[in-house]
Point group: C3
Chain length 352, copies 3
Amino acid sequence: MAYRLSELVEVLGKHGLPCVVEGEAGREIAGVATLEDAGPGEISFLANPKYEKALQTTKAGAVIVSREQTAPEGMTVLRAADPYAAVTVVIIQVHGYRQHPKVGVDARAVIHGSAAVGEGASIFHGVTIAENVKIGRNVVIYPGCYVAREVRIGDDCALYPNVVIYDGCVLGNRVTVHAGSVIGEDGLGYAPVKGKWQKIPQVGVVEIADDVEIGANCTIDRATLGRTLIGRGTKFSNLIAIGHGTKIGQDCMFVAQVGVAGSVTVGNHVTMAGKVGIAGHLNIGDNAQIAAMAGVMNDVPADSRVAGQPAAPIKDAMRSFSLVQRLPEIHKQIKRLEAEVESLKRALESKG
Amino acid sequence: MAYRLSELVEVLGKHGLPCVVEGEAGREIAGVATLEDAGPGEISFLANPKYEKALQTTKAGAVIVSREQTAPEGMTVLRAADPYAAVTVVIIQVHGYRQHPKVGVDARAVIHGSAAVGEGASIFHGVTIAENVKIGRNVVIYPGCYVAREVRIGDDCALYPNVVIYDGCVLGNRVTVHAGSVIGEDGLGYAPVKGKWQKIPQVGVVEIADDVEIGANCTIDRATLGRTLIGRGTKFSNLIAIGHGTKIGQDCMFVAQVGVAGSVTVGNHVTMAGKVGIAGHLNIGDNAQIAAMAGVMNDVPADSRVAGQPAAPIKDAMRSFSLVQRLPEIHKQIKRLEAEVESLKRALESKG
Amino acid sequence: MAYRLSELVEVLGKHGLPCVVEGEAGREIAGVATLEDAGPGEISFLANPKYEKALQTTKAGAVIVSREQTAPEGMTVLRAADPYAAVTVVIIQVHGYRQHPKVGVDARAVIHGSAAVGEGASIFHGVTIAENVKIGRNVVIYPGCYVAREVRIGDDCALYPNVVIYDGCVLGNRVTVHAGSVIGEDGLGYAPVKGKWQKIPQVGVVEIADDVEIGANCTIDRATLGRTLIGRGTKFSNLIAIGHGTKIGQDCMFVAQVGVAGSVTVGNHVTMAGKVGIAGHLNIGDNAQIAAMAGVMNDVPADSRVAGQPAAPIKDAMRSFSLVQRLPEIHKQIKRLEAEVESLKRALESKG
């Protein structure tokens, strides 16, 4: 749907993001695009100064910029205190979220007689729903998904194609799971018996709270006993592995390829950047920020930032990183010192 | 099924794990749970002293503890030399392993006329079995699995939903593959020809020996020629990548997100912790233990433990780690030394 | 199909790889195998001197070796300047590439009426093709694949089982995607609003150019706006994650478990070894080579090689690695120096 710039300004104002237009306030905007791709019917934005040069060449009909940004002569700009927040609102307004087709309960889906599916659900062909599953209202389940026995799924959830939920797991409301993710597979639970690995039955489940979004091809182990827990509002990217019995707090954000071992407790608002690894049985405090590729081997206090392998407070880690890179120079320094000490010794001896 | 504590003691004795009950030996136990979750009809355990505090507040009907553990007044405890081994036996006894539904060969499965499926198999709807596949007895294959032509699968295997086995691969007996894993995809085999990559046909297969368990969303490359091999009794967690032609020994355990490049030979009883990476063409000896996130660039001798990137013997790696973290302090030490040497020089010169 | 050695020499000559046979040029070759596995009707090769010992014990009917290689008495060898290039040609000639069954458009595939499928396609049962999808000629799509609305797929592509392509994504010609990979899932795009994460609609798509091959269980995020791009001829191994809006050049090769964050620009002919991580918004120049497990936090210039975490030029990184491993020794050196300086000071003082 198309909007005049002036209408978008009104929408932004309602979101607490007051903006002003410089230029053609009546211009019609039918889409949002990057500076590189945008045409005259589209709006773009500049939030990262790294991309400032593109402002000179963009064909965008209008650009959201900061209060201070200088803009080329004749360009229609929409000035906002926080261009990133503003463009988010504009994308939502102009494009909206992905609409799922309404297919009802497809007759080709394989649904056990004991399962209950709420109103408004779209259960596609090629879905399997096993014994005693309970599914809430307006849930969308795409082809190739397998929902094992005793699973409970709340309202307004979406499972993209080929998601597998093992037996007994529980999803809250408004949970989204992207394609190929597996929830509730057995964890790596074995006891050593005479040089072989004896499997320990994995009796627990996974519980995913409301408003969680899980990326593609993730794996979340069920608990050996009790629950593996993903807290309300937490967001995962792709290829993330969560070990058995781990409890993740609320409103966390985990970037791709993060791995958290078993029996870890993660607080609220924790950020883990790409490829972070967390060893088992640790506590990660609220608001902790873990830098990309960090290897965490000890508890992380609340409100702290860590980096490195093994992870250390980020300032220390950065200083260590930089000194490691200066090691060749430091090594020369030491050799020079040794030579000087040697010559001092000789000088002193010669003075007898 | 519920058991009296005295009956569980008997079972444990038969497993070579003699225990004694202090308290109510006649108490009925219907389940095993964590100290946090257990109720009066459940048994719990304390193996990791980290969780000792929970012993004070648990509502468990009984708790398996070590010989020496002090326990709260009035708590029924089951004392064992190895509480972890004991609770494993109790979980198996009380809960047992996951039971797969018996569905026979579902008429909606797509099975090529030339394929042979053994007695007692449960082949679900939504399974594809291609030309000349041979499947043993009592095999369970869940919906969404694809078994390509010429694959051979032994007895008592389980393929969870959406597993894909490429053409010609071989699974032994009692092999379990969790959801979404892919066995036998082409490895990264290309020859550079005039600045482009020419694909080398990947003619080999993957062979998985008896009693192997593969986690969810793993990928095991077929060999270019010959076989990629996973040895008897080896256990994989999730999101593990094995390169083409690599041969893994028996009774190994690999934690999530391990990656082993091609043409590697791994011995028996090797442990790789989370996110370990092994470069191509290396030998990893029997019983080697590779710490989490280690990057192995050289052969690892049998019975050794390595850590770090690049991996080194664990003692050396730990000393290096700790010195890296002390580098800022070491750097100051050096500066202090330089200053002192300088002042010594001047003092000596002043003495002319 | 079987070939005489003399015929293979002819084929190699036509590929610009002149070879000579020493021994039985009329020997029939029906397959290519490793030195370990090959029998008298098979040809093998020796390219990596590490495996030279196997030349003594192989039962291969003939072996491709280098010009200089000494070979056991009586062995039929085919001498080539580049044994690896030669065996590649021989594998292609003797074994060829995997042939996909020709199944036409299976009546059990679920194909929306508005979708168009080109001539010669093999669309298996269990495939879903949604609204307005356009699929070229001779495309093979295996069971369990889901092709969302508005996707365009060129000619001669192959999607192995359980591949998911999200709405609007574009694949060129001769693109291969291995089992379980997901193309075009939403990226990790959220704006912080009052301590919670507000989802930003992910409006962009993924575009994959001609001749790309994607391994198994990879995940390629769609762009927030515009396109995530995988350039012509690029090859991916398994479990690779590409962030939203990232643009990968032509003829790159990425090994398993590589992760590239969002908004990265990667040039042509770039190699990333296993588990490499690239932070967001960086530029990686043409022909760059990134060593296994490197963590790239800064732009990488064209034609350079980097290693380490954070990544540095490989020579520096190697020197730093080696000095880190010598840190215990260096630390002792410093302590020795301190002691000597101390004793020098005392000696000087004693001289008054």
